[in-house]
C-alpha cells in the first residue's frame, strides 16, 4: 500500500495583503511523480517553498505524517531535496563542480564531521549517472546552464531525500539540454524511487514518468488528476486564458500555441 508522504490541508500564503496561495489541499504518495503547472503568478513556486520550509503559511502541512510549520528540524530538511531555478554563479566564485555536488552531503554528515569515502563514492556515481564526471575539477561558475543544473540535481540526490522538489529546473536552457535534463529526471525517478514534485509552465517539456498534474491559477488549485485529462485544449485554454490546441504524436500529447 502506498503511503502519504505529504499532506496539505487548506494551506494559504499571504504576501503583503495578497493571498498568493488560497486554501490548497494536496496529498502526495510514495514514488509519485507529480507536475505543478500554471501561468506566471499562479503560486507554483510558493507552493514548493511551503513544502521546502522557506515560506510561512496558514493551514496544515504534514510531512511524513508529522505536522510541520515553516521552521524545520534538520531531520525533516534532509528528507526533502530541493533544486531551484538556474541561479547565476560568478565565473570566479571559488567552488569546483565536485565541491558543489558534495555540499549535498554536508547536512547529512552533521557538524564537526567531514564527508567520508562513502559520500565521495556516491557523489562520483551520481556525477557519472548525470554524465558530468569529467567536469568534477572545473570551476562551477564557468559551466554552462545545463551542466550547472545537472550538478544541482546530483547535489540534491546526494542528500538522499525521500521527496525531490524541482522548481522549473529546465527554465532558460536550450531545447536539447532541456530534453537531456528531463530524461535524467525520468532516470532518477526510476532508479532512486523518489517522490517528485516538478514545477513548470512548459507542458511540452514534461518527463515521461509524470502521471499526475496539479494545475494552479491565481493561487487556487483548479485541477488535480491524470496528465492525459490535464493536457486537453479546453482545460489548458481556460487555465492560461489563451486558445491552446493539443494533439497526439507517438503516444504523447503535445500542445500547440496556435
Amino acid at each position: 500500500m502506498t503511503q502519504d508522504i505529504l499532506t496539505l490541508k487548506d494551506v494559504s500564503v499571504r504576501k503583503q495583503k495578497t493571498l498568493v496561495l488560497k486554501g490548497i489541499h494536496l496529498r502526495l504518495s510514495e514514488n509519485e511523480f507529480v507536475g505543478v503547472i500554471g501561468p506566471n503568478g499562479a503560486g507554483k513556486t510558493t507552493l514548493l517553498n511551503v513544502i521546502a520550509g522557506f515560506e510561512e503559511f496558514a493551514g496544515e502541512l504534514h510531512v511524513f505524517g508529522r505536522k510541520e510549520t515553516w521552521k524545520r528540524v534538520r531531520r525533516t530538511r534532509l528528507r526533502i531535496g530541493y533544486v531551484p531555478q538556474l541561479f547565476p554563479v560568478d565565473p570566479g566564485f571559488p567552488i569546483l563542480a565536485a565541491e558543489a555536488v558534495m555540499t549535498g552531503a554536508v547536512g547529512r554528515v552533521g557538524l564537526f564531521r567531514n564527508p567520508g569515502i562513502k559520500e565521495h563514492a556516491e557523489a562520483v556515481r551520481l556525477m557519472e549517472m548525470m554524465r558530468i564526471a569529467h567536469l568534477a575539477s572545473r570551476p562551477l561558475g564557468q559551466l554552462s546552464g545545463g551542466e550547472r543544473q545537472k550538478i544541482s540535481l546530483a547535489r540534491a540526490i546526494l542528500q538522499k531525500p525521500d521527496v525531490l522538489l524541482l522548481d522549473e529546473p529546465t527554465a532558460n536552457l536550450d531545447i536539447a539540454v532541456q530534453k537531456e535534463v528531463l530524461n535524467l529526471m525520468d532516470e532518477i525517478s526510476k532508479r532512486e524511487a523518489l517522490t517528485i514534485l516538478f514545477v513548470t509552465h512548459d507542458f511540452n517539456m514534461l518527463p515521461e514518468r509524470m502521471r499526475r498534474v496539479v494545475m494552479l491559477k491565481a493561487g487556487e488549485k483548479v485541477f488535480d488528476g491524470d496528465i492525459h485529462k490535464a493536457l486537453r485544449s479546453d482545460t489548458l485554454s481556460r487555465l492560461f486564458q489563451y486558445p491552446l490546441e493539443t494533439f497526439e504524436r507517438n503516444g504523447r500529447r503535445f500542445v500547440s500555441y496556435g
Binding site: 504576501k15 503583503q16 521546502a52 520550509g53 522557506f54 534538520r74 531531520r75 530538511r77 534532509l78 526533502i80 531535496g81 530541493y82 531551484p84 541561479f87 565565473p91 570566479g92 566564485f93 571559488p94 567552488i95 569546483l96 565541491e99 558543489a100 555540499t103 549535498g104 554536508v106 547536512g107 547529512r108 557538524l111 564537526f112 567531514n114 564527508p115 554524465r131 570551476p139 564557468q142 559551466l143 554552462s144 546552464g145 545545463g146 551542466e147 544541482s152 547535489r155 540534491a156 542528500q159 536552457l173 536550450d174 536539447a176 539540454v177 537531456e180
Partner: protein
C-alpha cells in the same frame, strides 16, 4: 634603516602596535572572505559605522567605548539578520538608511562631546601607538574565535557561501552560521576601532577578499590568500607610515589597494575567464 626598525621594535607600545596590526589584518581579512563572496559590503560598512557610533556614545555616557561599540554592533546584527531573511524587503535600501542614521548618531555625539574630541577622532582613524595591553588581548581573543569558527565550520561555511537557501534545504544550519558571522563581524569591527578605526576598517573588510578572488578557485587557499594579504597590508602599512611619517591607517589602506591592483593585473583567473568568453564551448550544453 633595518637596525633602526629593529631598535624601535624593543619598545612595548611598538610591539603592541605590531601584534595588533597582524591581528587586525588577519581578522578583517578572514571576514572579508564572507563580505566579498556573500556580496554584503553594505553589512560591513553598517557594522563599522555602528561600532563607531556606539563608541562615541560610550565616550558621551562615560562607559568603555569598545564595549558600547560592540553592543551597538550586536543590536545592528539583531536587526540585519531577520531583515535579510525577509524576501519582501530590499535589504540594500534599509542598510543604506541604517548606516547613514548611525553616521548621524556618531557625528551628533561628537558635536555634543564636551571633552576633547581627540578620543573620538582616534576611534575614527585608529591609534596604533596608544593601544593598551587589554586592547591587544581582546583583539587576540576575537581573532582566535574567528579562526576557530572558520576551521570548525568550514564545510558548512562553503555551503552557505555558495547559496544560503540551497544550504538550508540540505540540512545545513545556515541561520546559525549566518548569525554567528554577523556576531563575529560586530566583534571584529569593534575590537579594531583602536587599531585602524571605524572608517578605514571598511577597506580591510573588502580588499583582502577581493584580492583573493583574483587568484584562486580553492576556498581554503582563498582564506589563506586573503589573510596573508590583510596581514601584509597592515604590516607594510605600518612600516611605510614609520618611514615616510604618514598616518598609519591611510598607509594601510593604500597598501591594501595596491595589493588588490597587483592581483587584478596579474590575475590568472581573469585571463582564464576572458579566454572562455572568447571561445564559448556551446557543445558543453548538449554533451
Amino acid at each position: 634603516m633595518v637596525e633602526q626598525l629593529l631598535d624601535i621594535l624593543s619598545y612595548p607600545p611598538i610591539q603592541r602596535a605590531v601584534i595588533a596590526c597582524v591581528l587586525c589584518g588577519a581578522s578583517c581579512a578572514l571576514l572579508s572572505v564572507f563580505v566579498v563572496l556573500m556580496k554584503m559590503p553594505l553589512i560591513g560598512v553598517s557594522m563599522s559605522h555602528a561600532a563607531f557610533a556606539g563608541a562615541v556614545l560610550g565616550l558621551l555616557l562615560g562607559i568603555n567605548p569598545f564595549l558600547s561599540g560592540f553592543i551597538l554592533c550586536l543590536l545592528v546584527a539583531a536587526v540585519l539578520g531577520p531583515l535579510s531573511d525577509r524576501a519582501d524587503i530590499a535589504p540594500e535600501n534599509l542598510l543604506g538608511i541604517l548606516f547613514s542614521f548611525l553616521m548621524g548618531i556618531a557625528f551628533l555625539g561628537m558635536g555634543i562631546l564636551t571633552q576633547t574630541k581627540a578620543g573620538a577622532l582616534n576611534l575614527m582613524w585608529g591609534s596604533l601607538l596608544s593601544l593598551s595591553e587589554t586592547d591587544v588581548w581582546v583583539l587576540t581573543a576575537v581573532t582566535a574565535v574567528l579562526i576557530l569558527f572558520v576551521i570548525l565550520f568550514f564545510k558548512e561555511i562553503r555551503a552557505v557561501l555558495f547559496n544560503r537557501r540551497v544550504a538550508a534545504s540540505a540540512g545545513v544550519p545556515e541561520r546559525m552560521i549566518y548569525y554567528m558571522l554577523l556576531f563575529l563581524t560586530g566583534a571584529v569591527v569593534s575590537s579594531n576601532l583602536a587599531t585602524v578605526g571605524g572608517l578605514l576598517i571598511f577597506a580591510l573588510l573588502v580588499q583582502p577578499g577581493a584580492t583573493a578572488l583574483q587568484l584562486t578557485y580553492n576556498l581554503k587557499s582563498f582564506f589563506w590568500i586573503s589573510a596573508i594579504s590583510g596581514i601584509l597590508a597592515c604590516a607594510l602599512g605600518l612600516v611605510v607610515s614609520y618611514i615616510f611619517d604618514i598616518p598609519s591607517g591611510a598607509s594601510v589602506v593604500l597598501i591594501a589597494t595596491l595589493l588588490f591592483a597587483l592581483a587584478f593585473l596579474f590575475s590568472p583567473k581573469r585571463r582564464l575567464i576572458k579566454r572562455n568568453e572568447r571561445n564559448p564551448s556551446y557543445e558543453n550544453d548538449v554533451r
